[in-house]
């Protein structure tokens, strides 16, 4: 791997072939998502004509003003037996667009076709959803190129560990869904072991500092989880509004706990690897440094990163609730009710994550010290 994606002035042969392969993948995937209609079972129609029919000003029961539009669309079917046939569609949408949207010429839609006994398609057909795949793929490529151009090797590793982690999670959830006897928390626990090892090995390779960070991450995660569990048990979950959880097909408490487990993992890893790599760097620069001095620097570093990492997690969790909060408040729900219904779980998650982050600072410090001691004794 030496020199791979690192030498800026003289692109090596490996690097050129890597970028060539990547570029070919890019072209092929873009061509594919633009011509994959036949791979879908659901009929897809491409809008060729859109006319605005009606515009109505409405006021809802809580005095919100909005505008409702009705548009008539002509679309051409792109797959199935009726490929090439034109169909009529009617779309109603609002100016605010909380649940609907305007369609323009060129948009591709999944539609539901109903046929009368003679086999002709009933008009208008029903719009089910938008075909988003080609834009999703394009966005993914923008992300990949941005990470590769800026991050080079580290960017590639970040993408690789992301993809591997997604595959592991997907596989683990498949197992969980198929075998209901398996406990979700056990599944998540095993996932966490794998995620931690894979992500940290990608970040800093097979080194002592990686091992120290892996141990610290696992200890930190389980310690914070134990505390959170204990608190939820002691207060019997008072104040947590599980009703707000969406998409629940399973016992919600377990799902919440599993999410909590995985959610704070990234931040805890961040703390652990920062602690271990900076302390190992101190030791390597000056192998005679006293443990007292290392401890002192460790505390300093911990203090510096504690606030920022908690904030990253905090913003990532809380921001997602904004649309729901706005919807509730515009529907004249009481403020206290709205906040506790929509924010209690997110805040609990952010706080539990914060506890994990702060706990990992001393845990990371002492684990790294242990590994440094071991290395020193070995020398």
């Amino acid at each position: 791997m030496n020199g791979f994606l690192t030498n800026r002035n003289k692109p090596g042969r490996k690097q050129i072939s890597f970028y060539t392969v990547l570029f070919i993948c890019f072209i092929v995937s873009i061509l594919f998502v633009n011509h994959n209609y036949s791979f879908y079972d659901r009929p897809i129609a491409k809008v060729v004509q859109a006319n605005l029919m009606e515009e109505t000003n409405i006021t809802d029961p809580v005095q919100n003003k909005d505008i409702l539009y009705k548009q008539q669309l002509v679309a051409v079917l792109q797959n199935g037996e009726e490929k090439g046939q034109s169909i009529q569609l009617v779309n109603e949408y609002s100016a605010s667009g909380a649940f609907d949207q305007e369609y323009n010429v060129g948009n591709e839609l999944f539609v539901l076709l109903e046929k009368d006994p003679a086999g002709t398609i009933k008009s208008p057909a029903i719009i089910l959803d938008v075909k988003r795949d080609k834009y999703v793929v394009l966005l993914a490529w923008i992300f990949i190129f941005a990470l590769l151009i800026v991050g080079k090797r580290q960017g590639l590793f970040a993408i690789a560990s992301f993809v591997i982690n997604v595959l592991i999670l997907s596989f683990a959830l498949d197992l969980y869904v198929k075998h209901s006897a398996v406990n979700l928390l056990v599944v998540c626990g095993i996932c966490i072991l794998l995620f931690t090892a894979i992500s940290l090995l990608f970040v800093s390779g097979f080194t002592e500092k990686t091992y120290a960070a892996i141990v610290a991450t696992l200890l930190g995660t389980f310690a914070s989880l134990a505390i959170t569990f204990a608190i939820i048990w002691l207060t019997s979950g008072n104040g947590l509004r599980y009703e707000e959880m969406q998409f629940v097909t399973r016992p919600y408490k377990i799902v919440f706990m599993g999410g909590l487990f995985i959610g704070s993992l990234g931040a805890i890893m961040d703390v652990a690897i920062t602690m271990s790599s900076s302390l190992f760097a101190l030791y390597e620069r000056n192998p005679d440094i006293s443990f007292q001095a290392i401890k002192k620097s460790g505390r300093e570093i911990g203090r510096d990163i504690m606030g920022t990492i908690t904030n990253i997690l905090f913003f990532a969790y809380i921001s997602g609730s904004i649309p729901m909060l706005i919807l509730f408040l515009r529907n004249a729900s009481a403020l206290g009710y709205t906040l506790s219904m929509n924010l209690s779980l997110e805040i609990a998650r952010a706080l539990a994550g914060g506890i994990g982050i702060v706990l990992t600072i001393p845990i990371g410090l002492y684990t790294t010290l242990f590994f440094i001691k071991r290395k020193k004794a070995g020398v």
Partner: protein, 257 residues
């Protein structure tokens, strides 16, 4: 005392025990950030105010809290602040285009149950609110990268004043690369954790791959992750460049005297 108060109290205790004065500051900054988000949301309730403008102002405030209050006002934090704001501006344009083409605003059909009984025609532009959500989710990480690069580049320049522009820029980007991996990781897992229920839902209801990738809720989550990652990558060269410019301008000014 309910669960959240207990968790908050424990977090405060740990922060004070481990971080001392800095810990108290970090805890207060959490509160202040929450306050800014909360007030921003209140302004967004009004149909006449543009949510993107509100997001921009909120970003400035959040930048001030996290860079100037936690650290202090100096050259490092000022350059980090500038880099963050430039990145946020570019991201704003990018995300507006992304959410308009993907049509990912508002709520997906999987959320119908939660929406029952609520009026959806509330006159607020959900595309712009969606943009705001993505920016707010990313801003913490963007600031973290900016301040880390700025402070290491200052250190580098102080220890090594003869360094060339090109070398200094390269060192900034190099530091950025190290943080890129861990910060994208932090966000990825935070989003995974938040959407564990959704993923199980997809599996339980036997969504096909095509159904998942085209669904509004999944593509909006993926767009959030991808835009956040792109933002973190984007802030690295911007911060490195601004710091090179700033440090060499200072050097020139010193030499002229």
């Amino acid at each position: 005392m309910n669960t959240i108060t207990w968790l908050g109290a424990i977090l405060l205790l740990l922060m004070v025990l481990i971080g001392g004065k800095n810990g108290v500051r970090s805890f207060i900054s959490l509160f202040l950030n929450f306050g800014v988000l909360f007030i921003a949301m209140f302004f967004m309730l009004s149909p006449t105010v543009n949510p993107i403008l509100i997001t921009f102002i909120a970003s400035i405030l959040i930048g001030c809290i996290n860079l100037f209050y936690i650290n202090e006002v100096n050259r490092k934090t000022v350059t980090a602040f500038l880099s963050t704001m430039i990145t946020i501006c570019i991201l704003l344009f990018f995300i507006v285009i992304v959410s308009e083409t993907l049509m990912i605003q508002g709520f997906g059909e999987e959320e119908t149950e939660a929406l029952s009984g609520l009026s959806l025609y509330i006159g607020v532009d959900f595309i712009k609110i969606g943009v705001s959500v993505i920016i707010m989710s990313t801003i913490g990480a963007v600031m973290d990268v900016a301040i880390s690069i700025a402070s290491s580049m200052h250190e580098m320049f102080r220890n090594n004043p003869a360094i060339s522009k090109k070398e200094l820029f390269a060192s900034g980007v190099h530091i950025g690369r190290d943080i890129l991996g861990t910060d994208t990781n932090t966000l990825f897992f935070a989003f995974f954790g938040g959407y564990l229920a959704l993923l199980i839902w997809f599996k339980d209801l036997h969504y096909s791959f095509g159904d998942i990738i085209n669904s509004k809720i999944f593509s909006s989550e993926l767009a959030l992750i991808l835009c956040a990652g792109t933002g973190i990558a984007l802030v690295i060269p911007i911060t490195a460049w601004i710091n090179v410019y700033d440090l060499f301008r200072k050097k020139k000014a010193v030499e002229q005297e």
